[in-house]
Each structure stands twice: as C-alpha cells, then as structure tokens.
C-alpha cells in the first residue's frame, strides 16, 4: 500500500488537496497515481489567474505510459503553478506529496473542502479500483 498522508484531502480521481489555512489549497497527484502512470515526461499546467470549477480538466500529466487529465478538486482561481515541473517533471514521481505539487487554488467556497475524501476514504477508493 502506498503512502497516504492523513493531513491531506483527496479526490477519487487521485488528486490530493492541502489546505494552506489562508483560503488557498495546494493540489497534486497521489503517490498511488504517479505509480500507475510511471515516469512523468511533461506536465501541462493551467494558467495563473484562470477560474476553474470542480471537476474541470485543467492540467495534463504526460508520462511514458499515457496522457492523463488532472481535474480541479475544488472551484476557485489558480494563483500559482509549480514552474519547477517545466524542467523537472520527475518531481511528481520522486516527491508526489511535496516538491511534485502541481498548482494552488484560491477557494471560492471553503465549505467545498468538507466534500473531499479523507485518507481512509481515499484508501478505500483505491481498493475498489
């Protein structure tokens, strides 16, 4: 079983969400997801300033194996993207929950966080895959 930090929130489509406590969240893909995708070769990030709605496909992770859409786990505005990934997409593989983060969203509605899965809920959703 791969690592699923308990302080994060999750979506069944394998994104993780960290509440930064200042109205913004950081989003990445889980260790489990990067393992399924294999070595990352390109990450096409959203534009800073873009308004996104929950469930929009806003980012593409291209691995050696496949191109995968990454979905907005919450609604809001993209306030920052991880530019390091431009030259080092492999950070998504080596540190999925840390340096491999994808983008930050300024929340429209902090209440949306309550709809996300906790670590246990996400672990169960993987088991069902």
């Amino acid at each position: 079983m791969s690592n699923i930090p308990s302080e994060l929130k999750y979506v069944t489509s394998h994104e993780w969400v960290r509440n930064e406590g200042d109205g913004t969240v950081t989003v990445g893909i889980t260790e489990h997801a990067q393992g399924l995708l294999g070595d990352m070769v390109f990450v096409e990030l959203p534009e800073v300033g873009e308004a996104v709605s929950t469930g929009d496909d806003i980012c593409v992770a291209e691995s050696v194996k496949a191109a995968s859409d990454i979905y907005a786990p919450v609604s809001g505005e993209i306030v920052e993207v991880n530019e390091e990934l431009e030259d080092s997409p492999e950070l998504v593989n080596s540190d999925a929950f840390g340096d491999g983060w994808l983008f930050k969203i300024k929340l429209d509605d902090a209440g949306e966080l309550d709809d996300l899965l906790d670590a246990e809920g996400y672990a169960n959703s993987i088991d069902e895959d």
Binding site: G38, F42, E44, E62, V64, E90, N93
Partner: protein, 362 residues
C-alpha cells in the same frame, strides 16, 4: 492462468512492478523506466525475455520448409550460427509474426518467435509442416536474458569461462553460438551492442544474480519498449499484424525476391502489392515540442490520412518519436500533422529509426 518466468522471484527481489503481458507476469519497471532506458544507452542493462518462444526446426526438409514458411530466404545462411530477421506471412500476405532464425546446418535451425503469438505461430507452423520431413520442437526448458548496452559484452565476459570467452570473441552482429550450457547470440531489441543469452532454467537465477553483481541493471518491459522504438524496431501487434503487408511495415528488406521460383507463403499477394506500389509505408515521426505521440493517433497528410502505430517519449532525445503508417507518397523531410487531444500538431517525417549506439541517427 498466469505464466511466470524462471526469473520471477528475482524480479520481486529487485522491487519490480509486475504487469500482465499476454498471460505472463512480467516486470514493467524496477522503479524508473527512464533510468533503466539510460542504463542501456550508456552502460549495461538486462531484460528477462524468457517468455519468448524458442522453437527448434530439425530434419531432412528443415531448409526446404523454412524457405516456404518465411519471406526471407534461409538458403542465404551459409555460416553456422548466422541469424536472420524476417516475417512469417499468411496466404493473404499479412504478417503472422516476426522472428529470428538461427542457422546451424541445413537440417537444424532455431527460431525465436513472440510470446504473444505463441499459440497461433505453433499451430501455423504445424499446419504448414505437412508433407515435410521435419520435427518442430518447442524449448520451454530455457530462460532467456538480453544483456544490452555499450558495456554489456565486457560485463558478461566476467561471468564466462575462458573457453566461453574464446567462443564469443570477435563475434559479428547477428550470430549465435552454443558454448557449454549457454547459447549466446549477438542480437537484441535496443539498438545497442550486447547479447541475448539462452540459459537452462536450472542455471537462470544464478546467471541473473551474477549479472546483477557485475553491475548490470535490471530493466523492464517499459524500457524495452522505449529502446526498441528509438531503434525503429517493430513491435508485433502494434506496428504490424495479420492485416498488414510486410511492405507496409518497413519489412520489405526482410523479403528475398530471388530466386524467383522460391514460392514462400504470401508471395503472390505481396508481389502484386509491390508491383502496384499502392501499399502505405511505415515512417518515423518526430515531435520536438511538448507532448507525446501515442498509438492510434491520426496522421493528416496532403496524400491522405495515416495512423501512428507506436509512439512514445524518447528518453535519449528528450522529445517524442513515433512510428506511423502513412500513404506511400509521403516523403522523409515532409511536415505532416498529428491529431493529439483534439488539436493538430505539426511533426517531421523521418526514416523509421531514431537512435543507434547511443546516438541520434536522423
């Protein structure tokens, strides 16, 4: 029922991620497919290819049978141990499989065919063998390890006895030699120097362990695919199958048209296609900007549409490359378009070969 190779436990010991490959549980990678790829281009890597099917064809009519069975002519083989790459076609000129044939004598040949096509290959050979004085013997009691890369031969030499070293010394590419328990061939599927070694099941784990110890990196099917694609080598099932002519799969060079009276299976159809000049062809595509070309994407050209047969990110070139089947009028150097995620993206047409011996070749 899932088959496991004799090296299955060794893969788990090395932390392999295992996947199903046509009924075989095989390593896809041991952590990073890209690192494994680079190991083969710059040093030495090894692949468990024990799932591949070894078939010995022996008997008075062995040569006669193979001259009928495959599109290349085994009568060209005169030096014992010499290997030949070719295809086996059906009566309609479609590729049943691609294979390597090792020649030992006119009554003794060894074939290595794909594992994914094992059953239909054996059934086809058996059916075609009617009336020929031959035996067809599958050899499942062997493992096979491909050791590939610029340092591969030097590292393997550490494991060989003095007699074995003498036997492989100065071996040219595309030869195989039996030395003691080992069948050592200078063949491969990566575009690098190296060996493919057939080893009895009982000795396979030990041989693998010794290779690990001299610093040969275990590599999975993932790296095997990016390496073969960079080298422009076909993968059966993607780049060709029974619906595809060898002329449309960059396999024309594996057909021997002389002597004219050699009536190989599919000859009539393929000869007519050749005369008509209407078959599509397999070319290389290069995308230097972001994005990865993938199998089945549509290729748009001024002469009509084509299709990517296999595409990947090339770890050596750091951009995407692909093999694609396109109308014959498309030329090397042309710019064509590929439909990627609903957008048309411009790509360059090249020969279907991108990297050999660690270097870009287009």
């Amino acid at each position: 029922m899932t088959n496991k190779t004799v090296l299955h436990a060794k893969h788990l010991e090395s932390g392999a991620k295992m996947v199903d490959f046509y009924g075989w549980e095989m390593p896809i990678n041991y952590g990073s497919q890209i690192e494994e790829h680079h190991a083969v281009r710059t040093d030495a890597g090894m692949f468990d290819v024990s799932h591949m099917t070894i078939v010995d064809v022996q008997g008075n009519d062995a040569q006669k049978f193979l001259r009928r069975l495959v599109i290349n002519d085994v009568a060209k083989l005169a030096t014992p141990g010499k290997a030949l790459y070719t295809g086996m076609c059906n009566e309609e000129g479609g590729v049943i499989d691609d294979l390597i044939i090792y020649y030992f004598s006119e009554t003794n040949y060894r074939l290595v065919v794909n594992s994914a096509t094992r059953e239909k290959d054996l059934a086809w050979m058996s059916k075609q063998s009617e009336g020929f004085d031959i035996t067809i013997t599958e050899r499942p009691e062997f493992g096979m390890i491909a050791v590939q890369g610029p340092e591969a031969k030097a590292k393997v030499a550490n494991l060989l006895t003095p007699a074995e070293i003498v036997a492989v010394e100065g071996m040219k590419p595309f030869y195989g030699v039996q030395v003691g328990d080992l069948f050592i061939a200078t063949t491969g599927y990566t575009g690098e120097d190296g060996y493919e070694i057939i080893v009895p099941d009982s000795a396979a784990e030990d041989f693998w362990q010794k290779l690990l110890k001299v610093g040969v990196k275990p590599c999975g099917l993932g790296a095997r695919d990016t390496l073969r694609l960079e080298a422009g080598m076909n993968l059966y099932g993607l780049d060709m199958d029974e619906s595809v002519s060898p002329l449309a799969a960059n396999m024309a060079w594996t057909i021997s048209w002389e002597p004219e009276e050699r009536n190989f299976i599919g000859r009539e159809v393929i000869a007519a296609q050749r005369a008509a000049g209407d078959q599509p062809k397999l070319v290389g595509l290069v995308l230097e900007e972001k994005g990865v070309l993938r199998s089945h994407q549509k290729v748009v050209t001024e002469f009509g549409d084509g299709e990517i047969t296999s595409g990947t990110f090339s770890p050596t070139l750091e951009h995407s490359v692909a093999l694609a089947r396109v109308p014959r009028s498309v030329k090397v150097g042309d710019t064509v378009e590929v439909e990627m995620r609903k957008k048309l993206v411009k790509v360059q047409v090249t020969k279907p070969s991108f990297v050999r011996n660690g270097k870009k070749v287009f």
